[in-house]
């Protein structure tokens, strides 16, 4: 048979669609019960039919592959969010985010003060730009940011890539490519995955444990099934891929790339509140804080309710495993912006780090282009996709989609080459001169 794809996240499904559309036999094996990977809509935890995006939550301008897909599939994007304006000096940079709503030490920061902080950070970025890998904590300390500017600048790490600032390189936040103009999917983010999965053979609850080469094919063993394929595309997260056995064993350069690519540690928090319009007025469309909830953004739903979606890096404080404690923190951040304690109806906290088949939020991109290329490279009929392997929009859904199509193209190219080689070769005879 054709191709087995491991993982029904965006990368796996975009691989599968491309191959399916080209007439290939494709089976997608998904370890969990859910389609969508690190995009997942929780339709139980909130009231009145509101959906909680447990994972990836929005599309950014420039994520054109997925924007095209939404257009083609009729997936509505709403609301539109500008988390911060252009500036200072009419440009986007790691300082721009300070111009959006900001809570420091539990208090809302005024617009004038935010402008000052942004100018301070921008001047430092201009005078002594960070090196790409330099951590944002090291850069902030090197240029000697004031306490408030430092707190605000490093809080970005908790938003992107949802990790501790000490372990986050500057390329994640400066010049920064997310949050300028983005859209939340009107239904949950996993609407993309559900649309992409239509017509495909996707089998859930099939954690892959071992991939063995048998002659020119591969045998893929799950907890309760075995499949044989000409090609296998591994699209699981870096950490989940480290848990799959390969026979023969993966080459050293691949293992080195897998072990050298940690994933960010953290999760998502979602609260549902009454008095949606009042909260939107005070907090909307997004707010960054120096609390354990680094950034949150809002989506209005029926009955004047609002869903607040935030990201939380794991700092070892246990808050990701303490739902009520974490939601209290969220309440307080909202209260800081609105002046009154919000009335919460429901909420949920989701710790991606603790999920067996994920092990984290996104790849940290350590090692740059060389390691990313090693993660992406095929080994015979074994191919690799996923946000970590993408040369563009790494860590994002867009990167996952692009990487999936890249893997599919690799396989299709191989098929064409094989077809061509099956044609009778033109006979050439060399005449002695």
């Amino acid at each position: 048979m054709g191709t087995v794809i491991i993982g029904a996240g965006i990368a796996g499904l975009f691989t599968a669609r491309r191959l399916h559309d080209a007439g290939e036999d494709v089976v997608v094996l998904e370890a969990t019960q859910h389609i969508g990977g690190r995009t997942r809509g929780d339709r139980e935890s909130l009231l009145h039919g509101a959906v909680a995006d447990l994972g990836a939550s929005f599309l950014d301008r420039g994520q054109d592959r997925l924007l095209a897909f939404c257009l083609e599939q009729g997936l509505a994007l709403s609301p539109e969010i500008r988390m911060f304006p252009k500036g200072p000096s009419e440009k986007y940079s790691g300082a721009s985010i300070m111009l959006g709503n900001l809570v420091l030490r539990g208090r809302a920061v005024s617009e004038e003060r935010r402008a000052e902080l942004a100018v301070e950070v921008q001047s430092a970025l201009d005078a002594a730009p960070p090196t790409p890998a330099e951590t944002i904590a090291a850069w902030g300390a090197r240029v000697g940011l004031s306490d408030d500017a430092y707190r605000a600048y490093v809080a970005q790490a908790g938003f992107n890539p949802v990790h501790r600032e000490t372990l986050t390189s500057s390329w994640h936040v400066h010049p920064g490519d997310i949050g300028r103009l983005c859209w939340v999917l009107a239904d949950s983010t996993d609407a993309i995955a559900h649309a992409a999965a239509r017509g495909l053979d996707v089998r859930v609850d099939q954690p892959v444990r071992l991939i063995s080469r048998v002659g020119r094919s591969y045998r893929v063993v799950t907890d309760n099934d075995e499949l044989v394929a000409d090609d296998v595309v591994v699209t699981s997260s870096v950490t989940a891929t480290r848990c799959i056995g390969f026979d023969p064993v993966l080459p050293a350069w691949k293992t080195e790339a897998l072990l050298g690519t940690p994933m960010s540690q953290g999760g998502k928090i979602i609260g549902q509140y009454e008095d949606g319009s009042r909260i939107l007025d005070g907090v909307g469309p997004s707010t960054m804080t120096d609390s354990p909830i680094s950034m949150f953004w809002l989506r209005r739903t029926a009955h004047d309710l609002v869903t607040v979606l935030g990201v939380m890096p794991d700092t070892g404080d246990g808050l990701l495993d303490d739902q009520s404690g974490a939601l209290d923190v969220l309440d307080r951040q909202i209260a800081a912006m609105t002046g009154t304690t919000p009335r919460r109806l429901a909420g949920v906290v989701y710790n991606w780090t603790r999920q067996e088949f994920f092990g984290g939020v996104v790849s940290l991109g350590t090692g740059g282009a060389a390691r990313r290329a090693a993660l992406a490279a095929s080994i015979g009929g074994l191919h690799f996709a996923g946000e970590a392997t993408s040369d563009h929009w790494t860590t994002a859904m867009e990167g996952a989609a692009l990487s999936g199509e890249r893997a599919a193209d690799t396989i299709l190219l191989k098929r064409r080459a094989r077809q061509n080689s099956a044609l009778p070769r033109p006979s050439v005879s060399l005449q002695g001169s």
Binding site: T135, A141, R142, C243, I244, A252, T255, E256
Partner: protein
């Protein structure tokens, strides 16, 4: 003066690595200032000594010392730091194909909640030997990937996972097989009174300033560091002796080389800590824990470190690591898990007298316990992270290729950096050059 006055060497971090470097430099007549962010010296070798009955103590951090720790043993000798009697955790037999078989003969294992008896442990050992023969692990293979490729049974897979976590404090998908197949000594000693005793002995007589967290480090003709409380220190050279994950907290100017930042941010931190509890029925606990108890649950290993006090209570130290680190944030949950494990080992409930927790992953001055670099990349990683740049020398357990992640690695790196600095040619004063060289030539 014929030689230019040299400002002191500034050592950032008073863990074993920093203190060893400082001590060597001091002994060689070089002036040294050690700046430590915490309120006490020791780094990741802290000893917990308050609140325990019978003047007992336990190690918050590194404690196991095997016979290959030669530099550390020599240092202990030199400073009259005493080592306790060895404890045997493994018994090797002829024909063993992995050190894990030796551990299966001595240590106890809880897999999937079930305490293996000796027969079950022996069967797991047999299975491991057969698997090692039928499916030899590749040099660089990830432990979890080998477990899957070798198609180990559930129990034996649990044993391998438990041992991998004991050796590395990493999950079995985050470390390679050399940790479970490479050579191991199964016999360990500890420093009498706690590992921190060595740090205290090293620090005696040195200029160590605690509570001085270095925020910026400027590296020009001289070096200048600024601490969080605004104090400035000028020096001739810098020794960066902080842990591998907080290196990137310091605002080095010029910034650290891209290669060094990438190497350190690529390393997986052991996201771990220790939970310890003292139980009244000490002799019972000591005999039940005769050696180690390794598990594939949230606790990866538990042991009694001070075994020579018959008739006294016993402190059980346990590690929570990686995916199982969560309970540490809630002491009640973590201690309940430890109580359960002790009850399982002893056979009945025992009385908990006192407890203490140190979550190194949550500590902003550490952000992790240790590192365990993959074997095939180890030399390259340590070459990059230990390379001298801009008058800055890098030490710490993580910078030593063969002994990365160990107390010995910390000591060796300190000795290495002291040599690097002592090897520097002193700077001649211009007058000296004029008088002794250029003028002499002109005459």
């Amino acid at each position: 003066m014929l030689l230019r006055d040299e400002a002191p060497v500034i050592v950032i971090g008073a863990g074993l690595a920093g203190l060893t470097a400082a001590r060597r430099l001091h002994d060689a007549g070089t002036s040294v200032v050690v700046l430590e962010a915490a309120s006490v010296v020791g780094g990741r070798t802290l000893t917990s000594s308050a609140g325990w009955s019978g003047s007992q103590y336990a190690n918050f951090g590194g404690e196991l010392i095997d016979s290959s720790y030669r530099a550390l043993r020599a240092l202990c000798d030199e400073l009259s730091v005493e080592l306790a009697a060895p404890q045997v955790y493994s018994r090797v037999a002829e024909g063993d194909l992995s050190p894990m078989e030796g551990y299966l003969r001595v240590a106890r294992f809880v897999v999937d909640g079930h305490l293996l008896d000796r027969q079950e442990a022996a069967r797991a050992g047999d299975e491991l030997r057969a698997a090692a023969r039928a499916t030899p692990p590749a040099h660089h293979e990830i432990v979890e990937q080998w477990i899957r490729r070798a198609r180990l049974s559930t129990i034996t897979a649990g044993v391998v996972r438990a041992l991998a976590r004991f050796f590395t404090q990493l999950d079995p998908w985050d470390c390679d097989v050399h940790f479970v197949f490479g050579a191991h000594s199964g016999s360990f000693q500890r420093i009498h009174g706690g590992t921190q005793q060595l740090a205290f002995a090293l620090a005696a007589g040195l200029d160590v300033r605690c509570g001085k967290q270095v925020v910026r480090a400027l590296r020009g003709g001289t070096v200048r560091v600024v601490t969080a409380d605004g104090e400035e220190f000028e020096g001739s050279r810098l020794v960066c002796a902080v842990g591998p994950f907080v290196v990137n907290n310091i605002g080095f100017d010029p910034p650290l080389s891209e290669a060094k930042v990438m190497a350190t941010t690529s390393m997986l931190p052991a996201m771990a800590g220790k939970v310890m509890a003292q139980y009244a029925e000490g002799d019972l606990v000591r005999s039940a824990f005769g050696s180690l108890v390794c598990t594939d649950g949230d606790i990866d290993v538990a042991w009694v470190s001070v075994t020579e006090q018959d008739g006294s209570p016993a402190i059980v130290t346990s590690f929570f690591a990686g995916a199982g680190r969560g309970p540490m944030a809630d002491p009640g949950t973590a201690l309940a898990q430890l109580d359960d494990l002790v009850e399982q080992a002893v056979g009945h409930r025992v009385d908990r007298l006192h407890s203490d927790i140190k979550d190194w992953w949550a500590d902003p001055l550490q952000l992790g316990v240790t590192i365990a670099p993959p074997e095939n990349a180890r030399s390259q990683i340590s070459a990059v992270v230990s390379a001298v740049e801009h008058k800055t020398h890098f030490v710490g357990d993580y910078t030593d290729a063969p002994m990365a992640g160990t107390l010995e690695g910390a000591v060796r790196s300190g000795l290495r950096a002291a040599e690097e600095i002592l090897r520097q040619q002193p700077t001649y004063h211009t007058d000296f050059i004029t008088e002794r060289l250029s003028r002499a030539w002109a005459q």
